[in-house]
């Protein structure tokens, strides 16, 4: 066996020779990963319509976006949907996660299974199903139906993230609260929820970003007017690209990347290490 503090050439974790092949693939991967994003950002500042030739730096497509009432309306709708879905799925998801971890009966394990369904179903199926449900119940598709569908889909994410956090809590802390005179409800409110706050905030930001960017579910459940921003982008891409889309895309990229970065680093703001463990919940 080779635990070698004696061999100075070896890196702390790894073997003596760097795998040139793997490193080359990684470099190419990163290049191809960022190239499409770079293209969108670059051409959003193009003074021309062209997507192949960059002429001059210009903000004309951003100006165009902020003067387009339809796109602005869509932006507003997407923000509203994301806010409502975030709030709704947090309330339902946090309570569900608490119940799932603590409830060790048959009902609990059944609910645990139901909760996993959206995670193993392609979005197109959930989308089709939600649309049929609304049509079947004669609910006209609108902003409201998008909100309902997005809440349903987001509950699972909140629950998955929170569940592992709750299971990792020390049960003695809640017992200590009751030992000191708190009722079960008080100990939940005064001790457990504050302990979960970083994870709750992180999943809130995550859900907001996911819902804001979500296309498939929104596509199947939205009415004709207004439409969420991703649905508008879809139509624009399919039926003749206007460079305005580059500007919208860039703004959305900046927005969601900022949100995700925030979600990943929220736990650090609370003085905890390794905020990236949110990723393992995905």
């Amino acid at each position: 066996m080779t635990t070698s503090s004696a061999a100075p050439r070896r890196t702390r974790r790894g073997t003596d020779r760097k795998p040139r092949f793997a490193i080359a693939v990684t470099a190419a991967f990163f290049a191809l990963l960022y190239l499409p994003i770079g293209v969108v950002v670059l051409f959003s500042f193009n003074s021309q319509r062209s997507l192949t030739v960059f002429k001059d730096f210009s903000l004309r497509w951003y100006t165009a976006f902020f003067q387009d009432p339809v796109l602005l309306e869509s932006l507003g709708m997407s923000l509203r949907v994301a806010t409502v879905a975030m709030a709704g799925s947090l309330i339902l998801g946090v309570t569900l996660a608490l119940g799932l971890v603590r409830c060790r009966n048959r009902l609990g394990s059944l609910a645990g299974l139901v909760m996993l369904v959206p995670l193993v179903t392609p979005e197109i199926v959930t989308g089709v199903a939600a649309m049929l449900l609304f049509k079947g119940m004669q609910i006209p598709l609108s902003t409201g139906t998008v909100m309902l569908a997005e809440i349903t889909f987001s509950i699972s994410y909140v629950t998955v993230i929170l569940r592992s956090r709750i299971a990792a809590l020390n049960p003695e802390v809640e017992e200590a609260a009751m030992d000191l005179g708190a009722t079960r409800w008080q100990s939940l409110r005064l001790v457990t929820l504050p302990a979960l706050l970083p994870s709750i905030l992180a999943s809130a930001v995550l859900i907001f970003a996911l819902v804001f960017d979500d296309f498939v579910l929104a596509y199947f459940t939205t009415g004709v007017d207004p439409q969420p921003l991703p649905v508008r982008i879809y139509s624009a891409i399919r039926f003749g690209v206007k460079p305005t889309i580059n500007a919208v895309g860039t703004l959305m990229l900046v927005g969601s990347i900022a949100l995700i970065a925030l979600a990943l680093f929220i736990p650090r703001l609370f003085g905890r290490r390794g905020g990236l463990d949110l990723l393992s919940g995905k």
Partner: protein
């Protein structure tokens, strides 16, 4: 004063050694003085403490699970029911009990799309594996203190809007885009070579869309792996390639399997990639479903297609679960 201080019944045949073994069997108290971490879980498990608590937890669980059941299970049941329905002459869906839709799916045209989707999704998995392995390997083993940063650099862009990313990718892959430009310059592509409107284009789209789901579990598995295994492998097998196939691959098989499922699921249901990167000959089942619900207005047939897709995915999941069960059983042994 002798030894009458004992309380409780007399103890015939007491064996001092019984303690730990019995405790392990009963499983409610842990070796004390250990870090409390392992102690609390097992203790919380069989306890449940006061019975009144359970009611509160059930109550808390209720709104969320009722919501999910009503919307999710309810709507999926609706799809399953409508799959046996018909359309009236006006194109409105009618419930029924006829297997016609499923019979229609057996037609060659549908079968071709189904098989194509399956092929694309599987190919996507394979390509993702081949690309993600070196990437995860390089980051997990050679990332040093930049490990977390590098992984974040992969994950964060994937949360950017899917459509915008796919659109940007289609620009990169376009006939006069940068990728073909480079390939032509180094002589790997001819003047007429295209990526868009071809099957490789669609698969490239799917790979770009979902490869992060392969990298994360692989990275996690490689991170967990004991590096001395690789070193031992070098001693045993010599070459890095043989070491990879004999040591690294088996040790991270579960991560790879999880990644395949995570990629296969959305790839199978995708319809954007085929639309942006493919032509009429590259449509996937997702495009058919979309078409039946929006343009074609044949909801029962769309529902049947959806159910068929779910069935295929279900079989895939089943295979995955059996595989992991077997792996776990072997790991225990």
């Amino acid at each position: 004063m002798a030894t009458q201080n004992t309380t409780g019944p007399a103890q015939p045949g007491l064996h001092p050694d019984d303690g730990p073994t019995r405790a392990a069997a009963a499983g409610h108290e842990h070796p004390t003085g250990r870090p409390h971490q392992d102690r609390r879980h097992t203790r919380a498990a069989p306890d449940g403490s006061a019975g009144a608590g359970d009611r509160l937890w059930t109550l808390l669980m209720l709104p969320g699970s009722l919501w999910m059941t009503a919307f999710l299970i309810g709507s999926l049941a609706l799809v399953a029911t409508l799959a046996f329905g018909t359309t009236d002459p006006l194109g409105n869906p009618r419930f029924g009990l006829n297997p016609e839709n499923f019979a229609a799916l057996a037609e060659p045209a549908y079968r071709a799309v189904m098989l194509r989707s399956l092929g694309y999704a599987l190919l996507t998995c394979v390509i993702c594996l081949v690309v993600a392995y070196p990437v995860a390997y390089a980051i997990a083993l050679y990332g040093g203190r930049f490990k977390t940063l590098l992984i974040a650099a992969i994950v964060v862009p994937f949360f950017a809007n899917y459509l915008v990313r796919m659109y940007g990718w289609s620009v990169v892959l376009s006939d006069d885009g940068p990728l073909l430009g480079v390939l032509r310059a180094i002589g790997l592509a001819g003047d007429g070579t295209r990526i868009l409107q071809t099957a490789p284009g669609v698969v490239a789209g799917l790979v770009y869309g979902f490869i992060v789901f392969m990298i994360i579990p692989l990275y996690a598995a490689l991170e967990r792996m004991d590096v001395s295994l690789i070193e031992a492998g070098r001693d045993l097998y010599g070459g890095p390639l043989r070491t990879f196939f004999h040591v690294t691959l088996p040790a991270t098989r579960q991560g790879a399997a999880a990644g395949c499922v995570l990629v296969f699921l959305p790839a199978m249901g995708d319809f954007v990639s085929a639309q942006l990167m493919g032509g009429p000959d590259q449509i996937m089942i997702g495009n058919l479903i979309q078409d039946k619900f929006f343009q074609g207005q044949n909801w029962p047939l769309g529902s049947a297609l959806t159910m068929l897709m779910m069935a295929v995915l279900f079989l895939g999941m089943l295979g995955y679960l059996r595989r992991t069960r077997k792996d776990e059983a072997e790991a225990v042994r």
